[in-house]
């Protein structure tokens, strides 16, 4: 199992995440244009107040991106201090992974917050099929949540790889998962903007 390739070992997974980002961007662009067209000549479009909770959730997600940036710096430093080479004989200690786990908790809290926001809306009688505004609200937020769940799994996987002895590729796994996570953050900011302006 050997190959000679012209790029660095972590490159494919990073390229893969960028391709994934392009795909997800394209699909949300499709939903956006669907929203514009559907709203364009609709007589049945009823605007509604976004739950205030969404702003709090936004802060949670922004905070998670910040803690993830800390986590990466911290993990990179401990790796260099401990290993100094490409191999790590012992996995990272829990204290060195604290920021990563804080990020994970914030991500899960965000999902919980979204769940509460949906419940608030259904409490007001706004369901998926109630009117086109609520339809698009649920479609966009649920799809974002599902994609974010993928990000949580990615970060958790990076965590399990960093805990055990291994090679530098564990770091590139973290790098790829981080890239995706920040993208989820940016995507959410875009969606908030869209929902605020359009719904």
């Amino acid at each position: 199992m050997h190959t000679a390739q012209i790029t660095a070992p972590g490159a494919p997974s990073r390229t893969g995440v960028w391709i994934g980002i392009a795909t997800i961007t394209m699909s949300f662009a499709a939903y956006t244009s669907a929203l514009m067209v559907r709203q364009g000549n609709a007589t049945d479009w009823h605007r509604f107040e976004l739950p205030r909770l969404l702003f709090f959730n936004t802060l949670l997600l922004l905070a998670s991106s910040a803690t993830l940036a800390f986590a990466r710096r911290r993990i990179g430093e401990s790796w260099n201090a401990r290993a100094g080479s490409d191999q790590l004989a012992r996995g990272l200690a829990p204290s060195e992974l604290t920021w990563l786990r804080v990020t994970l908790v914030l991500g899960i809290l965000f999902l919980g917050g979204q769940l509460l926001a949906w419940r608030q809306l259904t409490g007001q009688g706004l369901y998926l099929a109630s009117n086109p505004a609520s339809s698009f609200f649920y479609v966009l937020t649920v799809l974002h949540a599902l994609h974010l769940l993928g990000g949580i799994i990615g970060l958790a996987y990076a965590d399990t790889r960093l805990r055990v002895p291994g090679t530098r590729s564990a770091l590139s796994t973290l790098g790829s998962a981080t890239l995706y996570w920040h993208f989820m953050d940016v995507l959410w900011l875009y969606l908030m903007f869209l929902l605020l302006v359009r719904l």
Binding site: A4, G16, T23, Y31, G40, D44
Partner: protein
């Protein structure tokens, strides 16, 4: 001639020899080897097998339709027993005709024209041609196939639900496709299965495209610059970018359609619709929104089907012309231009949807412009063949046939691109003839060329040349007799999508329909020669050498069939472009790569 010598690779391509991280060793056990395999070669063959099953299914459906069109009052033997209500006494109802049409189109476009030339051959050949030992993400690759397989099963399941398959065509226009079972037979569960199947299919192809792009960008071997990649790999690479954008729009469209069907939303269903005497509980949806989303995918899909054929022909023609391909960089530029333009023309499928004539013109112009790069590529192929001492093997013949049918189908595109002419022709057999030639038959000829060309590599045995040539000539005659008359029918005003033309003003077209049906049945029967050749050669064909065609690209530097890790633990170093044919001396070609043993420490 490639001017850059082997040693002048740039600093960014430093001679880095890394252990593979495709992350899997040789498979053990039957399931790991043949079913849930991570090996791109097995996955490629699985895609091709799936396409073979799908194309046989789709072809049988087309025979049933053609039979009914030509002989509307004669029963099809056995059909009455298979479908006692939809075809009582063996004569199909118009609804069954539409159901067969829907399934024929869906199966052919998605599970044949996308899976075989792109996912099938691309998976098998692309990693070897760039010098990788597998795709970048073998697990995603395996998922890609099995997800696609599930999508196929879900689609086929529509045959077995009580009301049968949907009748809304492969384009599934809303609101017909969105309303549910009130709207007609097959539009209940059958249509839901259709939408779910296509959504699943999108996921499979997105995973596939992801792999193709990452592999091409990141796993090329030493010296394999982008410009040294064979044209086939270029075509798969560009196709995967097109696919990535196209399927990531079709997936949202399908999700919204499914929600309209099962969750009561109104994305595509307008208000005030009374269907089957019932006021539909929807309002405000936009049927045109579905058409826009669908054709934003749908037109690029045409190029997903045909660009791999462009690549295969550009790759194979020089091998048998024993001449370098004329203007390989221009061909690449044209493929990129086609890929880009394919996203600007979708509205030409919607000229009849009541769009503003100004928009129609805006879509018409790029539609005409996109013929320019396509024409340049065709001229370069003809220039490559011109004055060559051609070796007329079966793959070479199918490449020449590809050019023929592509040009025949492409020329009618000039007519259809103009809104004023399209207004008359769009609903007629002219369009059926056009897209079957340019997309269906041309892509099939690309698939045949690829099969005859790479079969020795895949199975280590040669296919029978005599049967191959017979297959080619009879198929060529058959497809021209089938699809050429459709243009005349269309010009004469013969509408499409009707199940029979007996009592109306089109009764005079019946003789020509009979001729087309005979030709279609003949063409289908001829494919038996291909099937026999395929299976017989697999078992009994003469043993193939490593490089039976004297071709230059990397797949011909390794044994037939290739070892599990493609290069047998050696490293290919690429020193030449793929196009070094017809040089002075013996042999008259230069291999792209030399294989080196791996250094001990790595």
């Amino acid at each position: 001639m490639d001017p850059s010598p082997a040693l002048s690779v740039g600093p960014e391509q430093a001679h880095r020899v890394e252990p593979a991280h495709s992350g899997h060793g040789p498979p053990r056990g039957f399931f790991r080897k043949h079913v849930f395999s991570l090996d791109h070669k097995v996955i490629g063959r699985q895609y091709l097998d799936l396409a073979l099953i799908a194309v046989a299914t789709g072809m049988v459906l087309s025979w049933l339709m053609r039979f009914h069109l030509a002989f509307p009052s004669s029963p099809v033997p056995g059909l009455g027993t298979v479908a006692p209500t939809a075809a009582a006494g063996g004569i199909m109802t118009p609804e069954l005709y539409l159901a067969l049409m829907t399934m024929h189109g869906t199966i052919m476009v998605f599970f044949v024209l996308t899976t075989a030339p792109f996912a099938g051959f691309g998976n098998y050949v692309l990693p070897i041609q760039v010098g990788a030992e597998d795709m970048a993400f073998p697990r995603f690759n395996m998922m890609s196939f099995w997800v696609t397989f599930v999508a196929f099963l879900v689609l086929i399941a529509a045959f077995f639900v009580s009301e049968g398959p949907p009748i809304s065509g492969w384009t599934a226009y809303a609101p017909l496709s969105a309303l549910g079972k009130d709207a007609g037979p097959g539009l209940g569960l059958g249509q839901t299965l259709w939408a779910v199947s296509i959504a699943i299919f999108c996921v499979g192809q997105l995973l596939g495209s992801l792999n193709f792009i990452a592999t091409t960008l990141d796993l090329r071997t030493r010296g394999m610059t982008l410009m040294r990649m064979p044209l086939s790999t270029w075509a798969w690479f560009i196709t995967s970018i097109i696919g990535l954008i196209a399927f990531s729009v079709l997936l949202p469209a399908c999700i919204l359609l499914i929600l309209d069907r099962v969750a009561g939303t109104s994305f595509f269903i307008p208000g005030g619709l009374v269907v089957s005497d019932r006021l539909q509980p929807h309002e405000g949806g936009s049927p045109l929104l579905w058409q826009h989303l669908f054709w934003f995918f749908g037109h690029p899909e045409v190029y997903i089907a045909i660009l791999p054929g462009f690549g295969i022909v550009s790759h194979i023609l020089p091998v048998f012309a024993r001449k370098p391909l004329l203007g390989p960089r221009v061909v690449i530029a044209c493929l990129v231009a086609i890929g880009f333009l394919s996203y600007t023309v979708w509205g030409h499928h919607m000229f009849l949807s009541g769009m503003n004539p100004l928009s129609a013109t805006l879509f018409s112009v790029p539609t005409l412009v996109i013929t320019i790069p396509a024409t340049i590529v065709v001229l370069l192929w003809i220039g490559t063949v011109y004055g060559a001492r051609m070796r007329f093997t079966t793959p070479a013949l199918f490449c020449l046939g590809f050019i023929s049918v592509f040009v025949s189908g492409g020329i009618s595109g000039f007519f259809l691109a103009q809104p004023s002419i399209d207004t008359y022709l769009h609903g007629t057999y002219f369009v059926v003839g056009h897209f079957h030639f340019v997309m269906g038959v041309a892509a099939m000829f690309g698939i045949f060329a690829g099969t005859y060309f790479w079969f020795p590599k895949m199975f280590g045995r040669m296919m029978n040349e005599k049967l191959g040539k017979l297959h080619f000539f009879l198929t060529l005659i058959g497809v021209y007799c089938t699809f050429m008359p459709m243009h005349y029918l269309g010009l004469a005003g013969n509408v499409r999508r009707y199940s029979a033309f007996t009592d109306d003003y089109m009764a005079g077209s019946l003789p020509l329909h009979k001729f087309i049906t005979m030709a279609a049945l003949f063409t289908g029967a001829v494919q038996l020669i291909f099937f026999i050749n395929l299976f017989y050669s697999r078992l009994r064909g003469p043993i193939a050498p490593a490089n039976p065609w004297q071709a230059t690209s990397l797949e011909w530097s390794i044994p037939s069939p290739p070892p599990f890790d493609n290069f047998g633990g050696r490293i290919p170093t690429v020193t030449h472009g793929p196009n070094e044919y017809g040089i002075e001396g013996q042999p008259d070609y230069i291999m792209q790569a030399t294989l080196e043993d791996l250094p001990e420490h790595a």
